[in-house]
Amino acid sequence: LFGASSIDESFWDEMEEILIRADVGIHATTQIIDKLKMRAKERNAKEAEEIKELFKSEMVEILTVENGNFINEDSLNVLLLVGVNGVGKTTTIAKMAYKFIGSDKKVLLAAADTFRAAAIEQLQEWGKRLGADVVRHQRGGDPAAVVFDAISAARARNMDILLVDTAGRLHTNVNLMEELKKIKRVVLKELHVDSVKIGLVVDATSGQNAISQARLFNDALGLDFVVLTKLDGTAKGGIVVAIEDEFKIPIWLIGTGEGLDDLRHFNPQKFVEALFG
């Protein structure tokens, strides 16, 4: 791919193709390329390999967002996972629980998807495998009530972390977004904002629509982190570059499979290498 060592129009076309095919999107790609063209000029760069490295470091920079601790050591932490349908929220909750239990944290799960068929049963099955309790109500119940009870239970049992699973919903569904805002209000009535973190789960196979998802979920709730799932497929997940560029929400974790163990910390360097790989 970088056999031609001269920087001509076909080189930039090649770079554009790599980025677009990775789902970085035409807009973010154009911005990155314009910036790189200037940088290449400033440095009087002549070698394709050199510019390629500049591309990578530019993208690593975009993907490196300052993020404080997501977990406080000395108080109850509530982590709420949200996102559109089918992206991997429930499975990610299970994986996060596995990770925290592995570091000797006391973890409680809240089945706040009271809508979808067998959503509660799905989380209960994971709870069983993890040895973690699941707070649940009837299907069709008020998700905010489930969360309220879960917080009481977490306090009573001196839990370190409460993980809240929510129903999948399209960011364009106003009523469902209001339901999430209500859940957030209920949580913030009980806990200090520093103890509450809201994460958006994004599917690596998604295209430009994930930007709209990030925008509307962020507008409604304020997002503290992103989890990028299904990176074990062939999709590159480049959409996070566009999301990061615009919203600066840190990417905390990535999903690399369907098992409890398939969760890793997001590493911008590795991610960018894989994108160009």
């Binding site: 095919r21 089918g86 992206v87 049963e121 399209l170 196979t205 430009q208 629509n209 497929g233």
Partner: protein, 292 residues
């Protein structure tokens, strides 16, 4: 919208009468942008634009009094052609039961679509039967059982079985025994690059000889859509597509990419989580949505 964008370009360029190559380039850039924003595959866009260019610098536009309208018309025609004719007619096997097998990536909407499709068939006057062949995902069987119960549709499941082939064979036997004429098989989500799981899918297909294999695809899928569709076509083979989650604001360009590359028809679209939200696919409506 793209039509108003194109109108804008033409009015700025005062392109009345003759249409210069420069104006065409500008228009093509706008169209390319719209299609890429809509998640149409990079290569499909490239080929599509060169086709449009060929027609746009042709006589019909050059001689046209309203070049913008002409170009938009060409784009719409080419898009609709690419999306395929209205091929929504559900066909059935000559000898019942007709078997449909739903496959696709994790979370694309297979289980929900299986239930919706059963409901659709029921409303058509058929006697559908569901088979829960996802033995991996926690509570997958319970999910389909719950939906079947809601619809009053018969279902076969076996929580103890570790063999999909056996489940579907037993399910079809049960369906025949009950006099069902259509069987809808829900399968586990799988990656096209997971050789074990693709092999299992082939085994289930061989064991059931489905009348149709339907690939369920999430409308928000990006550039990877082609990899997935080509892989499923090559390793398993499928006959049609169900495109889900079109009730959101995803433009759905994956539909165009998959159609362009596999030539397979989109049979249905899913417009929501309710069990009556499966709709027949209209290519011209989809073309308009993709253009934005």
């Amino acid at each position: 919208s793209l039509s108003s964008k194109l109108q804008n370009i033409f009015s700025k360029l005062k392109a009345y009468g003759k249409l210069g190559e420069k104006q065409v380039e500008e228009v093509l850039r706008e169209i390319r942008l719209a299609l890429l924003e809509a998640d149409v595959n990079f290569k499909v866009v490239k080929d599509f634009i060169s086709n449009i260019k060929e027609r746009a610098v042709g006589v019909e536009v050059m001689e046209s009094l309203t070049p913008a309208q002409q170009v938009v018309k060409i784009v719409n025609e080419e898009l609709t052609k690419l999306m395929g004719g209205v091929s929504n007619k559900v066909t059935f096997a000559s000898k019942p039961p007709t078997i449909f097998m739903l496959v696709g990536l994790q979370g694309s909407g297979k289980t929900t679509s299986s239930a919706k499709f059963a409901n659709y068939l029921k409303n058509m006057g058929k006697k559908p039967f569901l088979v829960a062949a996802d033995i991996y995902r926690p509570a997958a069987i319970e999910q389909l059982e719950s939906l079947a119960n809601e619809l009053g549709v018969s279902i076969y499941s076996d929580k103890k079985s570790g063999a999909c082939k056996e489940i579907v064979r037993a399910g079809i036997k049960q369906a025949i025994r009950e006099g069902s004429d259509v069987v809808v098989v829900d399968t586990a989500g799988r990656l096209h690059i997971d050789e074990e799981m693709m092999k299992e899918a082939r085994e289930v297909k061989e064991a059931t000889s489905p009348h149709q294999v339907l690939l369920v695809v999430d409308a928000m899928t990006g550039q990877d859509a082609i990899n997935v569709a080509e892989s499923f076509k090559e390793k398993l083979g499928f006959d049609g597509i169900i495109l889900t989650k079109l009730d959101g604001d995803a433009r759905g360009g994956a539909a165009l990419s998959i159609r362009a590359v596999t030539k397979k028809p989109i049979k249905f679209i899913s417009m929501g989580e309710k069990l009556d939200s499966l709709e027949v696919f209209y290519p011209d409506r989809m073309a308009n949505r993709i253009l934005g």
